[in-house]
Amino acid sequence: MEIPYTVSARPDTGLYNAKVGIWLFLASEVMLFGGLFSAYVFLRVGALPGYWPHGFLNVPVGTFNTLILIGSSVTVVLAWAALKMRQFMRYKFYMAITILCGILFLTIKLTYEWPAKFHHFGAFIKKDSLAKYEPYLGNNYLAAKGLTQRVEITGDLENEDALKDDSITEYDIRMDAVNADPTNPESDRPTFWQRPVSDKVAMVDKADVEYASMFYPRHSAFFSTYFLITGLHGLHVLGGIIVFTYFWLPVGANLYKKNPEHLANRIEVVGLFWHFVDLVWIFVFPLFYLL
């Protein structure tokens, strides 16, 4: 049995069926990501002063990934346009670039961005002990300038055994520049280029620590929402790559031979999904990387 309205428009909707289907799916996706962004707003607005971190994510890498995704949105629409003009080889070319852009985006995220976080450490200092760590926090300096206090010392954990071994009473943290030199005006706000970890090591008593963790989702509301939303977004990118690759393989050529407009419509539908993925990232990037 032939599936109806894969190419021509259904009279009552004025659209081919797959287009109706993808838009209904995207409507559900808006609610899915809407719920997560809503949770982000709730957690961020409710965070106590100093407990919503800034400057932990790599802005140049995030910017590069954003440009990659935008570039892929352009190439996928060009691939669709090539099919409409019956230029199959051009379609294959633009689709190949789109697939490579998607793979590059995911590779950067999974092999660089996320692992870099997993090797970083932060210790939230108890309220009563903040004064003791003033040389690393610079809260008097920040208060004088009307800036938000710091409550966390971050950097590379020199003695990772301290995370599991209760007999070790302190964390030895090779500090980030912001804690190594907290009264430097450069530390007031995040910078475009991340400053390297310093050589200064802070010995932080576990008794003074409210909570400490590597930069895993459990580290903070920030990282739990960051990993959840970018993870879910990454799965969408992966889904897009799989479908694009399917239509790039001989399946696409065979369909093109049978009915080029059918392939064009399928690419338009996957393209709509891909643009939605791009659209989500347009909000993810500033909310997590920049603000």
Partner: protein, 113 residues
């Protein structure tokens, strides 16, 4: 079932080809604008607008503009059928409701004391 001339054809319909060819230049231009807006977002995030909230508003205005371009041009919402607009209107109502629930949490309408 009747099809327009180009639907099964491997030669493009002359009108379609001309129409799409015109759009291609537009897609490239939109891509360039989106790239520039990304750099603008990054640049503006390092400008001190006085408060953190002001910076958030500026970044969200640019992001909404970018999202609007993607939706209108790449997703063809600029000239789409009413069926799609109806879907999106309903989605918009529910999405606003979702965010309103979050706002409700902060207004704390159920005060016990």
């Amino acid at each position: 079932m009747e099809h327009p001339p180009s639907e099964h054809s491997h030669a493009p319909h002359p009108d379609t080809a001309h129409h799409v060819d015109q759009h291609v230049k537009g897609y490239l231009a939109v891509g360039a604008v989106l790239g520039l807006c990304t750099l603008l977002t990054v640049g503006l995030s390092f400008v001190n607008f006085g408060t953190q909230n002001a910076n958030i508003i500026v970044a969200m205005v640019v992001a909404t503009f970018k999202a609007g371009l993607v939706a209108a041009i790449f997703m063809h919402l600029k000239s789409e059928k009413w069926t799609i607009y109806r879907f999106l209107l309903i989605t918009l109502v529910f999405a606003i409701g979702l965010f309103a629930l979050t706002a409700l949490a902060f207004s704390n309408p159920i005060r016990l004391n």
